[in-house]
Symmetry: C2
Subunit: 139 residues, 2 copies
Amino acid sequence: MKKNIPLSENIEDYLETILRLQIRNKVARSKDIAEALNIKRGSVTGMLKKLAARKLIDYEPYGYVTLTPEGENIAKKIEYRHTVLKDFLFRILEVDEARADETACRMEHAMDSQSFRKFVEFIATLDACPHRKQNLDQA
Amino acid sequence: MKKNIPLSENIEDYLETILRLQIRNKVARSKDIAEALNIKRGSVTGMLKKLAARKLIDYEPYGYVTLTPEGENIAKKIEYRHTVLKDFLFRILEVDEARADETACRMEHAMDSQSFRKFVEFIATLDACPHRKQNLDQA
DNA sequence: CAGCTAAGTTTTATACGGCTAACTTTTAAT
DNA sequence: ATTAAAAGTTAGCCGTATAAAACTTAGCTG
């Protein structure tokens, strides 16, 4: 088991973004990362170096960016949290979708693994409860 | 309605801490703030100045710190979120208490008002459901 | 009231992460 | 092949927040 030096929210956001871009475009480009995170192109380079130094991405100057296996694991974990949290906010709490997405984006960094695991189980239990479904239908 | 220039998580944490100290000791002292936030005394002063400049606390050098009405409102809002989130984590998800507290500490900054309001309603509904109580008793 | 100690402050330095503007490399079009 | 635009990088700056260490103030205590 590795000593998880905790990653900043920022780093998690970069990894998540890179994963999404990789899925959509095969490969992540600096410019698209900047757009997705709403920051300037120039700000991205420094972080890419940091991520590469930490072996979370493969990166050479002027080249494409791809996640290493380790980076991908982390990115997928965050992405999964995002999905679950957004689903909870949107489908169960009935928060409007854009806001659910934004809020999930922030909450995804705040939960430790244990709490998140239990949260997932909780939702499963909730969805399995027939009475809950009835109540929702009434609304 | 004021344009809520969003406060940093950090500022929210300071206000929450000051509120707690005020309740416990009538008044907040720099040293106790430092201890509660696990930072050094020297780091507190700068932030106190910033909070005073924003009219969130009353503060003079070498004096006690108290929340202004505005600061108190914010602090109470955060404190309430903390309570609700911790309760959810601890009582409903059955996360152990220390962890529930820590996690609530981070999540309390991540939710927008709408999402939080709906979350509170959701918990109320949950607690009102007799079937849920049964299930918990079985566990 | 002298002097010590605890609390508070100041200064200097560090890390992070963003911006702008200028510069370089790559790419695409002619 | 040339060259212009797009993408990427670099350098210098700012703001936020922290630490460490030296210094100041407030409050005892003898």
